[in-house]
């Protein structure tokens, strides 16, 4: 499979069908693993990096794993192709920008990906649509256990799985639940949510992870603690927190609908109008308007637009996707025109 072929499909997690999908976009779990007897990437020479990749790659491509994976060596991809993988949430921004031998193994439905030579030798990731933490963990656990058959991971009985950064040590487990919280944000209630989550040792980040702004009212909530608790405990603790956020967001959605129906309707239909007719639109504006439209769809202010289409529009209107679709490098202004046309066409067909 080529990176380009990703354009003819969209990830399982974008379906918008999972549980609680009115608020929860996706559940993501990642495991950090390092190989026994190889230095961490912090100090690894270019030779060691290639050695790690040469050692790991055939083991990821072999057929015995629970999922068939396709491996891409990032050095062989163009910047646009690598950025496309970031936009798809298959690799991190850091992995895209890094130098030296590195890669990613991806399952056909994009639900699973394994980064090689990121901050740790291996970063396994599973994403599923909606709130499906146990299912996501079951899948990643199966893959991890299968990999243990051919790879010897650095592990200590006291510290657990050993990672380059001590903030990941132990389980190496990071859960991220991506939520759409437009009503809480519109009603200026996000500070409350953020503060309580931070007090409970959870971090909140934007759409593309570390260091990104919360674009379009999308927030990712993640656990910080990885040591001293079992994987299942970390998951069940987060599972107790998420419903509170869902309840809060839904309450504010209904409050908006009851108290200020005109304001809400206006915002939603205005967003639809611009998206349907604009000739130039920046990525930020598009994200903002799509967010408003998504809110309108979940509250039945506007009907006939599937969640899947909206979720896909968020991803397909990102710069690398547009450039890959057009098959050329586009200046930001050209991109704005192409983006507007892409959105128009997609909404016209409905």
């Amino acid at each position: 499979m080529k990176v380009e072929e990703l354009l003819s499909q969209s990830g399982e997690w974008l379906k918008g069908t999972g549980p609680e999908s009115d608020v929860v976009i996706s559940s993501r779990i990642r495991l950090a693993r390092n190989l026994h007897r190889f230095p961490f990437l912090t100090v690894a020479t270019p030779q060691v990096r290639s050695e790690v990749e040469r050692f790991v790659r055939p083991r990821l491509e072999e057929g015995k794993l629970p999922r068939k994976l396709v491996y891409w060596s990032l050095g062989e991809l163009s910047t646009v192709e690598r950025t496309l993988l970031v936009e798809r949430h298959l690799i991190s921004r850091e992995h895209e920008k890094a130098e030296g031998d590195r890669g990613v193994a991806v399952g056909a439905d994009e639900a699973i990906s394994i980064m090689v030579n990121e901050e740790d030798h291996l970063r396994l990731q599973v994403i599923r649509s909606g709130l499906q933490l146990d299912e996501a963990y079951d899948e990643i656990d199966r893959m991890d256990t299968a990999l243990e058959g051919s790879l010897n991971f650095a592990f200590s009985p006291q510290f657990g799985y050993l990672t380059a950064c001590p903030t990941n040590v132990g389980t190496g487990l990071r859960i991220s639940v991506m939520m759409h919280l437009p009503a809480a944000a519109l009603s200026k209630q996000m500070d409350k949510v953020l503060q309580s989550l931070q007090r409970l040792n959870y971090t909140v980040r934007g759409f593309y992870g570390e260091g990104t702004q919360p674009l379009g009212d999308f927030y990712q909530v993640s656990n910080q603690i990885t040591l001293g608790k079992s994987e299942r405990d970390i998951i069940s603790e987060l599972k107790r927190v998420i419903p509170e956020i869902l309840k809060f967001e839904r309450q504010w959605r209904h409050k908006l609908l009851e108290d200020e129906p005109r304001r809400l309707e206006d915002r939603v239909w205005r967003a639809y109008g611009i998206l349907k007719h604009a000739r130039r639109i920046t990525s930020e504006e598009a994200t903002d308007l799509l967010s408003a439209l998504r809110l309108g769809v979940t509250l039945n202010v506007i009907t006939g637009i599937p969640h899947k289409v909206l979720n896909e529009l968020f991803i397909f209107t990102q710069p690398a996707h547009l450039q890959k679709i057009e098959r050329k490098i586009l200046e930001p202004e050209e991109r704005d025109a192409v983006r507007a046309e892409f959105i128009r066409r997609r909404l016209e067909g409905l």
């Binding site: 200590s156 380059a164 950064c165 001590p166 132990g170 040591l227 079992s230 930001p332």
Partner: protein, 162 residues
């Protein structure tokens, strides 16, 4: 809105500074913000955060302690906040224990153990996990489950003492 500096790219960084009571705004693209250094002031790295959590070393010598396997010193670890190899967890053990306690509130793994690790270690880890579970089960007054866990603990302890 276009970047104030290059007038070419889209401004993605919006800064507001208040100096002597006067508000100043700047709208820059990513590249220009980086060049002018505006962005770095806002880049809060995990390195600086973790470095802040680490206590000053008791003896200056500790900073010079070097891992014989990967070659990094404790002071290098403090600036990068990244370890160089698995062995560092032993070499910088006492300092790491204090750091892990602050970051995770614990210094003992209680999760999955790879099946390649020998059975004895796996059992010891299970024992730690069970004792923890027992505490929370007793707190929630689920006595049936508590009895079940106690039985398993007993069996494991017997096996481990053998």
């Amino acid at each position: 809105m276009n970047c104030e500096k290059c007038h070419k790219n889209h401004a993605t960084i919006h800064l507001t500074a208040i100096e002597n009571g006067v508000k100043r705004e700047a709208h820059l693209c990513d590249e220009c913000a980086r060049q002018t250094g505006a962005i770095s002031n806002f880049n809060f790295s995990i390195g600086s955060l973790l470095g802040g959590l680490m206590e000053p070393v008791k003896t200056p010598k500790m900073n010079q302690v070097r891992c014989p396997e990967c070659g990094i010193t404790y002071s290098e670890f403090k600036t990068k906040a990244r370890l160089g190899c698995a062995n560092d967890y032993e070499v910088f053990r006492s300092e790491l224990l204090r750091l892990l306690e602050k970051v995770h509130g614990s210094t003992q793994h209680a999760g999955k153990t790879p099946h390649t690790v020998d059975a004895h270690i796996r059992k010891e880890n299970e024992l730690i996990r069970l004792k923890r579970d027992l505490d929370s089960v007793v707190k929630s007054e689920d006595f049936e489950k508590a009895a079940e866990i106690r039985d398993r603990i007993k069996t494991l302890e017997l096996e481990l003492n053998r």
